[in-house]
Symmetry: C2
Subunit: 693 residues, 2 copies
């Protein structure tokens, strides 16, 4: 990466002196951004561009170059890459479109290029992107005009889409948010997000990193990088859902929407998931501030109305507005003419025209260890306040900086003051207090991150026994196979027997004791309840025999002909709360564990929490507690709790099972029954799918 971003000389391939030539835009940007290295335009027609000679071929260049950027028709790109290879140019950026994103021929060209990269030991950014920018050296490779241009600063951007990246620069510039480095991934033929992220995390010029991705290459590696990161990472991945939605075809899979998997991964690794571009712009305004380590916010507001609006936002975002310290309350009372300032939080400073009071308050708050952050809603009310107000603002920002206290500023009414803060004080400000509170919440999330890594949990079951029970052929395990496997890993299952004939069912029921239930077990039968394939509460042998006959009939009518089926006779468990405990293998993040409300209501109740494996027992307990049903099971309003230890252990077992047996694609225990006031739990159904995707 270093060789990309600190290239001392750049060949720009595809330049002509005609209007509408896109590669010209690259040269224009290099000049506009004040690139300090050598710019060498290359294009078959020769000529001059912006006073620089255009060399007809790469071979004609008068010197060796560190980097070639290619913006030619796609079909000549492989040849250009090969020439670079032959000439020893080890770093190539391709901005041309028309590759795998377009059609198969484009995909084939990418493969051709991949071979060349390997052959010559080259690295490549793109194709189908906007290249990269290093604000420190003026290395600005986008072909598109960037107007307003980015301003120099401390935020690094990785964007798969050049369009999203450049729209963001424009807004960042407008908001006083400076850029350090940018890389547009495009089709990620070679360089992908994790390598760039890793470089930016180590880059002393970058203070925070934003990623815009339409797909993640390796989610577990990304999580590992994020867990170790000392800088805020904002990640916007609006397409994570689409990419992985295809594999969703059973309970756990379809509920564990991919967006929620992504959010779980962010939470576990401390990245801030961005759902809306303005969220990033707001959050990034605090990127240079000390961390927001708690929820105790004090608000100073120039208008009472915006104080109310702020208080509402605080309630929404979970900020507390603690009472002021006695010292500060005393100060306010002393400073108050006619009792106009009440020592409340938010502090309504509407009628205070003496800015020394603001300064004293902010200084006191900066010293107060019981205050986690300060929000100032400020605007001069008249021309005569302007100058003194600016002096006050400067003083407050300095105090906060010295005290390492986060201070957010919203500018009210006199919007031209925003510019003074941004440009003279170097502090981006908020347009509305809600935006400031949202940003403070984002930075609280980032500061409170670091759910610690799962502690190693001793093996919870005998892997050999489990391995023995896992069939070879891919597909769903039969219900008896699935139940046996679950029992083998130590998860309690309601007593059951498999039966291939009515008399076997009756014999099984006699051993189990009445009442029993019967379930038709066949691979193609996903939702047994709707199919009528579960018969409950059978009280005697006659009912079991009749039930078997009924299920045989359903099998004959509903199953693909020739499909194997069996009947499972199971103890009829009474009562208990229906839960879903499951796991599936996400193509991006690997094993994902699901816990929540189960039974037929699973979809309607929408009460599922997810986590990425591995998880240890305390993490499993936390995941359970994140659901409404988990809170109910903990014993509310004097009720006895269910066996949360057993439930947590079940999740931890599934975590180990998924990690040890990569051929298991999904496990869906629904329902598992838990019993308030009683130990243990019992699974009454299990669906398990094996095979490699």
């Amino acid at each position: 990466m270093e060789k990309f971003f600190n290239a001392q000389s750049v060949a720009v391939v595809g330049v002509s002196d005609k209007p509408f030539n896109l590669a010209q835009g690259i040269v224009a940007n290099l000049l506009k951004f004040g690139y300090q290295g050598k710019i060498l335009p290359v294009g078959p027609r020769g000529g001059n561009v912006f006073g620089l000679p255009i060399y007809p071929r790469l071979e004609d260049l008068p010197q060796a170059v560190d980097l070639a950027v290619i913006m030619t028709p796609a079909k000549v790109v492989p040849q250009a890459v090969e020439t670079c290879g032959r000439l020893g140019i080890k770093r190539v950026v391709v901005e041309s479109a028309g590759f795998s994103e377009l059609n198969e021929a484009g995909r084939a060209m990418e493969e051709e290029i991949r071979v060349l990269l390997h052959r010559y030991g080259m690295r490549l950014v793109g194709p189908n992107g906007l290249g990269l920018i290093n604000m420190a050296t003026g290395l600005a490779l986008p072909f598109a005009s960037l107007d307003p241009p980015p301003i120099k600063g401390r935020i690094a951007i990785i964007s798969q889409s050049g369009g999203v990246g450049s729209h963001l620069f424009a807004w960042m510039a407008k908001e006083g948010l400076g850029l350090s480095k940018f890389l547009s991934l495009g089709n990620r033929l070679d360089v992908a997000e994790n390598e760039v992220l890793s470089y930016f995390l180590a880059d002393p010029e970058s203070q925070a990193v934003y990623l815009y991705l339409e797909g993640l290459r390796d989610g577990r590696e990304l999580m590992a990088l994020a867990k170790e990161a000392a800088k805020p990472i904002y990640i916007h991945a609006p397409n994570v859902g689409e990419e992985t939605a295809l594999i969703a075809h059973s309970h756990t899979a379809s509920l564990a929407t991919d967006e929620r998997v992504f959010e779980a991964a962010c939470r576990q690794s401390g990245m801030l998931p961005i759902k809306r571009q303005t969220e990033f712009l707001n959050a990034a305004k605090l990127a240079g501030q000390p961390p927001v380590t708690g929820s105790r916010l004090v608000v100073l507001s120039r208008t009472g109305g915006e104080a109310v609006v702020t208080a509402y936002a605080c309630r929404q975002w979970g900020f507390k507005l603690p009472p002021l310290s006695p010292q500060l309350a005393e100060l306010l009372t002393q400073r108050s003419r006619a009792g106009i300032i009440r020592p409340t939080n938010p502090i309504d400073l509407g009628d205070i025209f003496d800015f020394a009071v603001y300064e004293e308050i902010v200084a006191a708050l900066c010293r107060d260890p019981e205050v986690d952050a300060i929000l100032l809603n400020y605007g001069p009310m008249a021309e005569f306040e302007m100058e003194r107000g600016r002096q006050m603002a400067r003083y407050c920002l300095e105090q906060a900086r010295a005290a390492a206290k986060p201070l957010a500023v919203t500018i009210l009414v006199t919007l031209e003051e925003e510019e003074f803060f941004r440009e003279t004080l170097g502090t981006p400000v908020f347009h509305f207090p809600e935006d400031a509170v949202e940003a403070l919440a984002a930075h609280r999330y980032l500061a409170q991150r670091g759910e610690t890594a799962a502690r190693a949990t001793p093996p919870l079951f005998d892997p050999e026994r489990a391995a023995h029970l896992l069939p070879e052929p891919p597909g769903f395990l039969s219900l008896p196979q699935a139940l046996s496997l679950i029992e083998a890993v130590g998860i309690a299952v309601a007593p059951w027997r498999a039966a291939a004939a009515p008399e076997e069912a009756v014999a099984g029921a006699a051993i189990l004791g009445y009442p029993v239930c019967l379930k038709l077990a066949a691979a193609s039968l996903v939702h047994k309840t709707e199919a009528g394939a579960v018969l409950l509460d059978l009280k005697d042998a006659a009912a079991v025999a009749a039930g078997f006959a009924r299920l045989a009939e359903i099998a004959g009518e509903s199953l693909p002909s020739g499909e194997d089926w069996q009947v499972v006779v199971m103890d009829q468990v009474k009562g208990g709360r229906e839960l879903l405990v499951g796991a599936r293998r996400d193509p991006v993040f690997g094993p994902v564990l699901a816990f929540g409300a189960g039974g037929v209501g699973t979809e309607v109740l929408e009460d599922i929490s997810l986590s990425i494996a591995p998880l240890d027992l305390p993490q499993a307990r936390a995941q359970i507690g994140a659901t409404r049903v988990g809170k109910m099971l903990a014993g509310i309003r004097g009720q006895a709790p269910a066996d949360l230890d057993a439930l947590g252990r079940t999740l931890a077992v599934l975590s180990q099972l998924m990690l040890q047996f990569p051929q298991i694609q999904e496990v869906d225990l629904n329902p598992v029954l838990a019993f308030p006031g009683e130990p243990g739990l019992v699974a009454v159904d299990a669906r398990i799918r094996v095979g490699f995707p």
Copy 2:
């Protein structure tokens, strides 16, 4: 109102020629806004201000005036108002602070002024506000400097807080959103929001109305106005919660958070509840557009990345992206060089530099009745596209206007184009596609409003019988009283008997049949379950006698001494799903009905829907269906439904009960049990409170 907004002459009371005189700001604004009427400054020191003479007293004015605006110390305001009265000035605006918002003395002054208003037949806006503005005449009364000043347009603003109002103007001006009229309510001593709203709804210069309120004066009147309104109403009321939260002290009350009552009122009357100031700024950008009558959106996007972002926003906001019509797909295929445009929705136009294609697509979409709205994410990529792009934009806007098709525009990258749209084309644009989709959703909400008024429902019970059972003294009804009342209005209750002694309990149980449950009934006992005051599943006389003794013991220990108590013996109902059906009287909106998940899980499950009475049977059914438990009861995945008719009827009964008996403050039936596959339902507990608040 007309006389306020169209005053031909204004006395400004409190002006001096000193710097820092706040009333001077009013004169300055009148001049700056080009007020066409007569401006008459008044202040005891006389002199001149901005070239106008200052008259020492109101009595010295050379002519009669339509309106006086007062900005003096609070203590001289009553006298100034009286002088106005004596001089026949019928309209007064008071901007001074220091009244009821400050202390009791201020409240007393307000009372004094109220008497004067009555005596002289005057009307007053304020105190403690920013007055009013009529952009058509330049009547601009705020004392504070408005910089940037509002631009002239079609949005009317009512704001309780002058500060919030003026911050909003500044942003509206920046976003190209014009103001028609403004009124700052302040303390609402006389003029309040509904009167102003009614005026603005009839005002031909106003196309939409925004309200910022920290409390609602008469919620039911507001709803009635909104239901009849032909213009969009946006309402931001961040303090609705605080004001009414004090009355929240039992189940229904505390769950039906006031914000949710407010949202129900908005939904039922078609006002858009605003939770964040930027939401209004986004929504208002579509205020002049044709209504968004459905969810079928077609997106044209200049960059593929922003197309993905838009698709994500559409999923979040419930917009469908239907496939393009065959005609349009054909057109795209024809126009596509090298198959670069795929006929998908969003349409990615990244590589199309021929703006005629944009024009043809938009024209086709405008003609397509299967398209409810169009979103164009547009930005020129280079200088040479600018002019042709502007021509295309103008054409598309004209097409959409002619076809009455809503068209939202987001400007990408080249932000200076925003100004061209705002100022030359007169069309506010969006900064990000998510903002556009949010605004389209807001206008879909506004267009789909008009849940029709409740149809008159015939009386569902005999009011005389109910009246007979309502006790006089305020407070909670005893459990037997409450159960009797519920039965009297036709809601089924589990069979029960009241018992004052163990033998009565045993006798009652014998009549009801075992098993039974026992409940301690006492007014001060709000949460019986936690207190251990509900004994379940007692199977014989001995258990009942012992249970009675246990409850007597709890009564002795837990109840305030001397409080009456009884025991209720009730049939032990098995199974069923626990529901909450309740009502309470909201101080702003009147009777509110609650339905949702009941039992001990009520708080944890957070599954309650609210509506404002009256509601008819279909509305009651819709309210039930708005909860997760309601969806479960409708019979999911092949399960039998519960008796939703009986449930709906119960809600309708409570609606009638609350409307007919204003002394009933709340009714809390929790749980009510409903049984999948069985008719009817049964209430097993009831709390009812009467009295006037």
